[in-house]
Structures are given as structure tokens and as C-alpha cells.
Point group: C2
Chain length 329, copies 2
Amino acid sequence: MTLILGPDDVAACTAMGAMIDAVEAGVREEASGGAVYPPRANLPTTNGFFRVMPAVMRESGVMGFKVFNGSVERGVRYIIAIYDEPSGALLCLMDAAYLTGARTGATTGVATRYLAREDSHRVGLIGSGLEGRTNLAAVCAVRAIEGVRVFSPTRAHRERFAVEMSEELGVGIEACDRPDAAVAGADIVIVATNTTGHRNPIAYRGAWMEPGQHVNSIGSTGGGLREIDPETFRRAQRIGMDSKVQVEGESGDAIAALEEHAYAAERVVELKDLVAGGRVDRGPAEAITLFKSVGSAVQDVMAGWAVYREARRLGRGTEIDDFLELKAF
Amino acid sequence: MTLILGPDDVAACTAMGAMIDAVEAGVREEASGGAVYPPRANLPTTNGFFRVMPAVMRESGVMGFKVFNGSVERGVRYIIAIYDEPSGALLCLMDAAYLTGARTGATTGVATRYLAREDSHRVGLIGSGLEGRTNLAAVCAVRAIEGVRVFSPTRAHRERFAVEMSEELGVGIEACDRPDAAVAGADIVIVATNTTGHRNPIAYRGAWMEPGQHVNSIGSTGGGLREIDPETFRRAQRIGMDSKVQVEGESGDAIAALEEHAYAAERVVELKDLVAGGRVDRGPAEAITLFKSVGSAVQDVMAGWAVYREARRLGRGTEIDDFLELKAF
């Protein structure tokens, strides 16, 4: 029996707390050596890309893949498949458009758990799209957030975000008309933008950083995409990355910072090492920290598995019988 | 709209002639540079493997992937996804257990078209499983076959094969109780075995080769699997491979032959170069030729596409609405 989950099912089965724990368990398994995943394959199409990201989680007993295709300009389609690792059965196929945003949030939640001050109460958010929503929900799941300020360039977007997310998360959210005003005085900053095609793609500047702040930046997942400046890297005393090789190879922000020699390699810590450490590890309270991510198959498979389990609990989705035959060799 | 095709749908939508032409078109696109595919990822699981094989066919306008997992001992599950390349829409998800056997046959059909004598009429077959069936059907689709002899170790299997496939293909098939008797006097030999766990895994010997013969060997797709001996490579004047790098890196038969320096690199020709040549290219009529394959994502995607088109024509399968959302970035 294979379960098919469309966009509505996946949204209904995303519980952010459970997803953060699932991604954290996956990252811990990366540290312990149980996770197996190749460099992600990125194939050019005539007008975009076709990417395939598999992962086997031998300790968790789950495996799967995400495939996504399209282009930044025309839009992207995502599918995640989840298998039972011991038996090899295909458990679930799900749309992963919303899920990719949710797992990016969940990954930010894990990083925030280990890099932000435990007494963080105020969030400054730049961006009011799907990732703004999921990343804010994740930060609220790991810290006792009391107030949020949000900026995005379109007034109607930021005001709608403030109303809707305030109700969803039960926390006061104020829409600001300038990005520096949104992040002033924040304990935790979230930069979650799509600045493709903007005249000035830098949405957050290191000049705005304040002592004790933790900054999460989750846009700029491709070489041509930007959202933070090299000064942000320069001022961060500790820089978390979900994968140093992939962030430094793929993120336009990291590539620009490296060109300016904005940070020393010693300041970088991978998320798996933070999680393996098991406690907040940011240095002194007044230290400034940064988390930069581009995503990984481990995050996708673990987040998809959390959605699948929730779907089974809630009875969501469409079953398909005997979809894949077990072939004797 | 995504079409779901289970095992029965795929079997009903496999037309061998169309599939051979589809695989040949894909191989031609490999030659012209339109096909994009990475080295296949092979991830170890706790008790087997998890393999992911994507391909983008930029000229044909189709892309997709095959994922298969399991173990030779416990059995394997296969799934193929087919996308429309220009729009990026997911057209179809299909079970590929039968299809993998069928596309292996179709690939043999392409190789036989370019390596076997045009006046080939007699086939000797070793193996009576799924691949025996699909490979024989493919050879009968590209040459005017008048008689077949089949051997497999279990009498009931080879006799049932002879009765059933004789009816299906409309050609006389005789079951033989020895492999050398089955291939004696044959113009085309097919070796399609699973000799896992056999005391002597060699099912076909180069000593049995006869002038003018063309031999297709499609088992031994892993380093631990065998079916033909190094002498088979030594006596072949021309050795076709679907991929030289993958056959020589992955097939236990080729690895054993290389260890004995049984053939010179100049004798190897890749299938894409045979197809690009556009005519039978075996050397003199009395030359002995060999084709050895391990499979490729190009073959999978093109064969899956042929099945999808036939399913649309016949109205087979189950439609799923709005399965993958197109996400604006």
C-alpha cells in the first residue's frame, strides 16, 4: 500500500514541533554516520534544472528521495518518496512544494535551538512568503517568542502576514516599513527572501547586527541568488551551515563572502556537529551568530517521514494498492 | 494530471517494437549529446541497495528517473517517473519490475539490429525467466526468426517457456536439456540468467561460439554476478556495450575478462556509436560478435515514455489530480 499525499494533505499533516525533532534526529544520524547520501545530482534541462536527492537513514529505518525540477523564473515542482528501509516498501509519494518550505523552517528551528540565546524573545523577520511563515513558526517552536516585527517590500503582503501569522502563532506581530526597523532590537533575525530580479538583492546587512543576535538566512540557495552581504559573515563570530561544502559551493551569499575573505574557516560549524554537541553552543551571550543553509536530502527525507506518520495518524491521503511489485531476481 | 500505472497496466502497454524504437532514439540522442545523465548513485542500505538513475532527454522532450531498491536475494522494487521536459509536468509514475525486463530486451533488440547478421534465423536461448521472454521477443522483432532452442536448468520451466512463448511469438521453440545443445547452430545467442548461488555460475562458454554468431549477454549486472566466461570475450571480434565505463566497472563477467586481459579495448564499441553509424557494423559475415549490457537511465526513461504513450492511447491506468503543485519561487 502506497499513500499519495497532495498539497492539502501535506499542509494538514505538517506539525512543526514534530518536524523539527525529525530533522534534528536526521542531522544527529549524519553525525553518527548512519546517513548515506551522495552529492546531489543537478541536471540541466532546456529551460531549467532537474535535481535528484536521495538519502538512506540506516538507524532511523527510513529512506527516500526528493526530485525537483523547473526554474526560479517559471516555478518549481517537488516530489518526495518515503520508503521503509528494512523492508524496502514504498510507503508514500507526496507533493513537496509546501513541505520544502516547512523543512527549511524545521532546519532553521534546529539551528536556532543550538545557536540562539536561550532567553531570546524578540524576532525580526525579513520576508513574508512561505519560508517566512515556516521559519517563524519553527523559531516560535524552539524559543519563547513574545514579539515579532516583519518587513517585506509590499505593504499588503507584510500586513496580511502580520494578521494571519499572529493568529496562527498566538504572538504579536508588527509590520514595519523598513527592514532595519524590523530587525532592530531583535534577539533572532530571519532572512527568508526571494530577491530574484531586484535591483539590489541584498535584503539584510551586517551593519544592522547587534550583540547577542542570532541570524538565520535561508534564501540564496543558488549561485545567482543573494540576500545577505559579506559584512554579515564578517561580523558573525560563529557561522552554522547545514553543509559547509554545499553552502560554500552553491549559495551566492557565501560565494560573495568567500571572495572577500569575510570569514575564517574556523568560525564555521556544521549543523551535525552542533546537534551532536547536544547543547547551545554559541560562545558568550553577546556573540553574534549566523546560520546559513541550502537544504539536504537528509532534511527532506526526515521531514517527509514526519508528514507520512502524521498522515497515517490522521487518516489523510489516497491509498494505491499493489503499486510496486516485489520482483524476485 | 499524473497517471499511475501498476504492473498489469505496464505489461498491457508494452509493445516491443515501439519500445525498441524508443530506446534506439534515446541511444541516438546519447550520441548527439542531447541526453544528460549523471553516474548512477548506488547507496548501501542495511540489507541491500538503493539506486537512483535520472536522465534528461533534451531533444526528445522527456525526462525522468528510475529508482530501484532491495537485494538480489530478497527481491527488488522498481519505480519509473516520466516528466514532460519542456513544461516540467510529472506525466506518469509506473511500476518498473516488468518494464526493467522489457527495456533490457529492447536494448538487446537495438544491439542485435546493428551487430547480428541480417540473415539470422535461428536463436539459442539460455534462461527462461522474464528477461528470457523479453529478450527473445525483441530479437524476433528485429530479425526474421524461424526457430528457437531454449535451455534452463529446470525442465518444467523451459518446457512451459517453449509452449507459452511459441504461442506468443508465433515461432517454433524447442526445449533442450543441455545449454550447448540449445546454442549449437544458432545465428543469435541470448544469455539471460540469474546464476546467483549456483555452484558454477557460468551458463555460457566461449568454447561454444560459432563463426557468424552474435551473442547477447544481459545477466551479470553486478560485480558479484556471472554468466559468461572470459573466453566469450576473447573470441568475440567486436564487443558492443551499452556503456563501456559501466559494463567494465559493474559487470562481474567483464571484470573477470579484464583480469585475464581477454580482449583489447579497440574491440569494444559503444551502442551509441553503433546506432549513430546507422547500419549493421559487425565486420565480415563469419565474425563473432558479443553484446554486453548493464542498463542505463536513458534506456529506462525512453522505455517508460513508450509505455506512457501506449497507456494514454489505450486509456489505461489511474489518474491523480493536482498531485504536484507548481510553486512560484
